[in-house]
Symmetry: C2
Subunit: 454 residues, 2 copies
């Protein structure tokens, strides 16, 4: 610890002065320094202090000692053009946040719905029960207990049986996409949905993969476009596409699976909000249809809290082998503490109860949103498949996407349109707002609608 | 939740039977299904159950309804060649761990030295104090309080002033290297130390960057090789190179900085175990010399626990701007809970006290290791710069690296040689064991030496 103890300060000031003189060119390479005794007398410090300073300068290579001769300045030929002291970095500050009264873009579940008392009780339990085991290195795939609970949960909620050994826990979806690119290779062509989450496209691109766009229609990603794409990997959200809300029908799913089998391609099934099928039962996953070609990805960001950077994927057997080859020596990046707590939450039934409460809540909010849209004084065409936490609203009479967003922003409402998620404009998706009600509180939908009736 | 409630079971069995028949080809595309009433009578269930099953099949696209006509099987042309039910994935099991009595390769600090009672008390405090704030999304750079504490700590421990705004917290060093590649580009040439940590080379390579090797000598990475390398990024551990233990002298550091300035290159300063300079004071960081060209990276894996996947980097101003452009919409992957706890640990002085205790401990272990090496019945040349948690031991009389490792393994000692970290063999580094004593308990060094004296 530099600067703290006062006699360390003395050594450090002396060390700094000499170093600055060397860096500033006052002391030249080869020049002899005063003996320790002479320097001590000169600087008014003890010989020990000088010795400590000299030793530090030797360790850092500023000076060297010659036996029975003394201390010499090292050759710093390239130092002259450096500033003697690096300029203080200017403060870049913290970025300003948004300032909308209502957010229909990035909504996350209201914090008051989170079972915080249960969560903190489980955390305390984990802390007492696991104790110092929490300090152990987490195996690359994640904690075995959590993977077991996730497998059970997938069986109960999605009706698929998976081997917990092939589940990989990671720090959120984008982190997992990075692993997928490393497993499958950057030289592969990754097909993503258009319109789609820009984050997915940029995650693959940032990891160096090439991307192709697959147009999404009323039946989700177009299977014939997939067949023509030349892609090696297809990333789809079959049960509730973002942002269109489309569901890929069974026949198209099977066609994609056949494509994957024939081509040796993989399908990344992005099941990001399948927990929230509000009308009817959950839709069958593609993983259940074809576990050998489907990489299933889901996270707890929507279902628990966005700060919970935890997601998982289920790998086909061949990719699992490759994963272990590449990563078995790496530690898992999600803290064991969070993994154990989540395992206790799922195992104790709290997670599914929480999902149940959230669904009840969102069913009510969805009804409010539908009623609010119906109350607007202009024609609205609602696109809603009864799933997930968003729906679309086409305002046929609006002149443009920009107009919709400006009118909304003027009323304090942050909103995006389908066009914001498209690689290039398509008439069928024009003038269509994406209404993400994941972050709406009860009553807010009516409040927002009232702003537009004035 | 499928399967749970008994009348959901009825609906689900019916739905499954129909689905299997469609997938198996018993029901053909265009075929009309019995009316709800007829199906109910046939299957011995209620009309509501049939309706629920039909709705699910419609939602998933297996069947469709024609108004005033009834329900029809969708066209599943491509289904015939799919197995009706996906085969159960075979269990791949959990991999077996190593079985050495002594580990001189990947040692992490003995768990009993970790101030677990302090850590768990701070966790409990954070849980009570922060409450539901812990559920908030963590900004891309990490928690501001933690970044502030890290900046203060860098000032106290490394003598450098950094703006906390330019600190980025991430899930361990390899995770941060991935961000560095995305900031600087995969098209750049990354120079890494040879011998060096294979993890560093593979992290850059896995993210798609090209790598060049810079030979490491007694004075660390060779600056003239850096100048000739054509590299755009230089990754070095100047204060204690792994595995050689070399320290880059000041003149060479300045030469590398001049190279970086002239070329517009960046230096990644990997300060992975700078806390553990056991003899003398900490060596000055390159960041302090040139904050505009140096990306400083450090983690808490060595100083706290390997399960603590938390590291940070300090970015130059230009890269910081680029980081915010690329990542300001991404959430930080380290849970806020861990970040707040670590901030409390540093802010309360516990972290530095812990480092102090670890240093005292490791000084004793290092003395034991040196004594143990001196007690061996064959010539040993020790390479030790008094820093970090490893040193090298050259056994000039050994016939090969393989011999050293086999003899050690036969005695239950896991050890690696410098050659294991080299891109190609170099005579100067032959027959040299790397002794990582980070995981040794007191007394173990003598026990190990005794095994070789028998």
């Amino acid at each position: 610890m530099l600067y703290r103890i006062s006699d360390e300060n003395k050594y450090y000031s002396l060390y700094s002065c000499i170093r600055e003189d060397i860096l500033g060119g006052k002391l030249r390479g080869g020049q002899k320094l005063p003996s320790k005794r002479a320097m001590a007398a000169d600087a008014g410090v003890s010989v020990i202090t000088v010795q400590t300073a000299y030793e530090q300068l030797i360790a850092e290579g500023y000076i060297y000692s010659k036996e029975r001769s003394g201390y010499y300045v090292a050759d710093m030929a390239s130092a002259a053009d450096l500033p003697a002291r690096a300029c203080a970095p200017h403060s870049v500050g913290e970025p300003a946040g948004g300032s909308f009264a209502f957010d229909l873009v990035s909504g996350s579940p209201p914090a008051e719905l989170f079972p915080f008392s249960v969560w903190s009780r489980l955390m305390r339990n984990v802390l007492s029960d696991e104790g110092e085991h929490l300090l152990e290195r987490v195996p690359c795939r994640g904690d075995a207990a959590l993977r077991g609970e996730i497998a059970d949960c997938l069986y109960r909620m999605r009706g698929v049986s998976v081997d917990p050994a092939r589940i990989v826990v990671g720090a959120g979806a984008e982190y997992l996409y990075g692993i997928i690119v490393r497993l499958l290779g950057r030289d592969k062509l990754y097909a993503v949905e258009d319109p789609g989450h820009l984050k997915i496209y940029s995650a693959y691109s940032q990891f160096g993969a090439r991307c192709a766009f697959i147009p999404v229609g009323a039946a989700g990603a177009d299977a014939s476009a997939v067949e023509r794409s030349g892609a090696d990997v297809l990333h789809v959200s079959p049960s509730h596409q973002f942002p269109t809300g489309a569901v890929i029908p069974a026949a198209e799913r099977l066609r994609m699976i056949r494509w994957a089998r024939e081509r040796g391609a993989y399908i990344v099934e992005d099941d990001y909000d399948s927990e929230f099928r509000l009308a009817g039962k959950p839709l069958q996953s593609m993983l259940g249809l074809c576990p050998d070609r489907v990489i299933y990805v889901n996270t707890f960001s929507k279902s628990l809290a966005p700060s919970m950077r935890m997601g998982y994927m289920v790998l086909p057997a061949d990719l699992f082998q490759r994963f272990m080859q590449l990563f078995s020596h790496s530690a898992n990046v999600v803290p064991l503490f969070e993994q154990k707590t989540l395992a206790a939450m799922i195992g104790g039934g709290y997670f599914e109860r929480h999902i149940g409460r959230l669904k009840t809540y969102y069913r009510a909010v969805r009804e409010e949103v539908l009623a609010a849209l119906a109350s607007l004084p202009f024609p609205v065409e609602v696109g809603d498949t009864g799933s997930g936490l968003h729906l679309t609203a086409k305002f046929a009479s609006a002149p443009s996407d920009g107009y919709i967003k400006r009118v909304a922003a003027a009323r304090g409402v942050n909103i995006r349109c389908l066009g914001d998620y498209l690689s290039s404009p398509r008439a069928v998706f024009s003038n269509t707002a994406v209404i993400n009600y994941g972050g709406l509180k009860k009553g807010q939908a009516a409040q927002i609608a009232a702003l537009f009736r004035r």
